[in-house]
Amino acid sequence: MFSIKFFLLCLKAAITHIPQNLIMTGLVLVICVILGTGIALIRAYRVPVVCYIFDFLMAICKVLPANLVLLIVFVIFNDNFKRVAKALNLSITIRDVNKMYVAVAALVICCISGISELIRSGIMSVPKGQYEAGYSVGMTKSQTFFGIIVPQAVRNIIPPLTSTILSLLKTTALVSVIGIEDIMTAAVGEASITYAFLEAYVAAALVFWVLGLVFEVISGLVERRYKKMA
């Protein structure tokens, strides 16, 4: 029997952990966009040697399942933390580090190739004629790039990026494999006392659904704004 009482208990626990998932999503997104832009530029403009290294790394990152990456990064972190801390003369123990940052690192590995690829195709889809037009009116390369190419690339990138953010948010539900408190683990944690697992899962699902819904609305607004400018 589905117990509303237990469901509400789990729901409350899940809701209190929303910030955890949002912070992880936000951090991963910011890091991926910054690093991803760098990688995208290197790959789009075929910087010698380095571009091949990134082609290779991105191809690997793309195919690894997220929970596997989380586990690998976590194990590497656990095994090497002491040594690295010692080498760097840091007087902190592994307990002082919020494991969330380990998860963020792992999720960056999972998401960077997708986001970088989005940015790359956004840049590449700006026609060559736009560069030529910029040069033809006497603008420098950087004036053309930042004034003409980047704004058009951003407009190409925003719509697909919103759906990537949504799937990133869902991926954060996997961090429980390395024992981080999040929406999922909080809801299930309540259930382990009462054995009301269905209630717990439905509560977590409800939270993700509402988050997704809010996000869809926001991204819809953003997209409409950008369409108007074109």
Binding site: G129, Q130, E132, Y135, S136, V137, G138, T140, I148
Partner: protein, 257 residues
């Protein structure tokens, strides 16, 4: 005509360019006097568009020399700074318009004035609007290129070039992407540009335009300048067989002068 005594403002000597194994320009010399309208004709693959793009460094020529105004460079070892300097003496009108998609018509016209020529803000808008009025599109100042027809976009493209007040405007087949019924009005506008006395180099397939407007016609084929002269010399009495052959194909006998 007095133009014949004008100073030579564009001088191209022995320009060569190849794309990989394909030699597109095999040593081209041209001279353009101040205020002249020079039309370059030739079959596709003759190198005429490449030549035009080399003048603006949209393609980098392999060797040769280029002088525009008082600035002369060896194309083999031209520096970035010199490229910028020479580019700022020219303006380009593209076949596909190439308006900045993220800018309004007015911003398209003023972009070069603001960024390259550093014209004071107060003056920029006025000059931009003047240029748009000149091409009869002042009401579209706030429109984005995607909201304009092809003909309107090309008129903004021409306004953008004219507003820069360059030494020479380069036109690369400015009407070939247009609907047939818009070609006429665009050619009229280009004639109007010519009427202002600005130096122009036009690559086109519009023979009647070449005949009416050009001071000099250059016929190119296979990477060489085959023949050049006044429109009458080229169209009525072409000396070279290749020119004659080309013209007979383009202008059916019953329409030729």
């Amino acid at each position: 005509m007095s133009k014949e005594e004008n100073e030579i403002i564009v001088e191209v000597k022995n320009v060569r360019k190849s794309f990989g194994k394909l030699d597109v320009l095999k040593g081209v010399d041209i001279e353009v006097r101040k205020g002249e309208v020079v039309v370059i004709l030739g079959p596709s693959g003759s190198g005429k568009t490449t030549l035009l793009r080399c003048l603006n460094f949209l393609e980098k020529a392999d060797s040769g020399t280029l002088r525009i105004g008082d600035k002369s460079v060896d194309l083999k070892k031209v520096r970035k700074k010199e490229i910028l300097e020479l580019r700022r003496k020219t303006a380009f009108v593209f076949q596909n318009y190439n308006l900045f998609a993220n800018k309004t018509a007015l911003e398209n016209v003023t972009q070069g004035l603001i960024k390259a020529q550093k014209v004071p803000k107060a003056e920029v808008k006025e000059r931009g609007m003047q240029a748009l009025e000149w091409v009869k599109l002042p009401e579209k100042a706030g429109s984005y290129p995607s909201q304009l027809s092809g003909g309107q976009q090309q008129r903004v493209g021409i306004a953008r070039a004219v507003a820069l007040c360059p030494d020479v405007i380069l036109f690369d087949e400015p009407t070939s992407a247009l609907d047939p019924e818009l070609v006429g009005e665009t050619l009229e506008l280009i004639k109007k540009v010519a009427g202002t006395g600005i130096t122009m180099i036009v690559v086109t397939h519009e023979m009647s335009f070449a005949r009416d407007v050009a001071d000099k016609v250059i016929f190119m084929d296979g990477g060489y300048v085959v023949e050049q002269g006044t429109p009458d010399e080229i169209f009525v009495n072409p000396k070279d067989d290749r020119t004659r052959q080309f013209l007979s194909r383009i202008i059916p006998p019953e329409y030729s002068i």
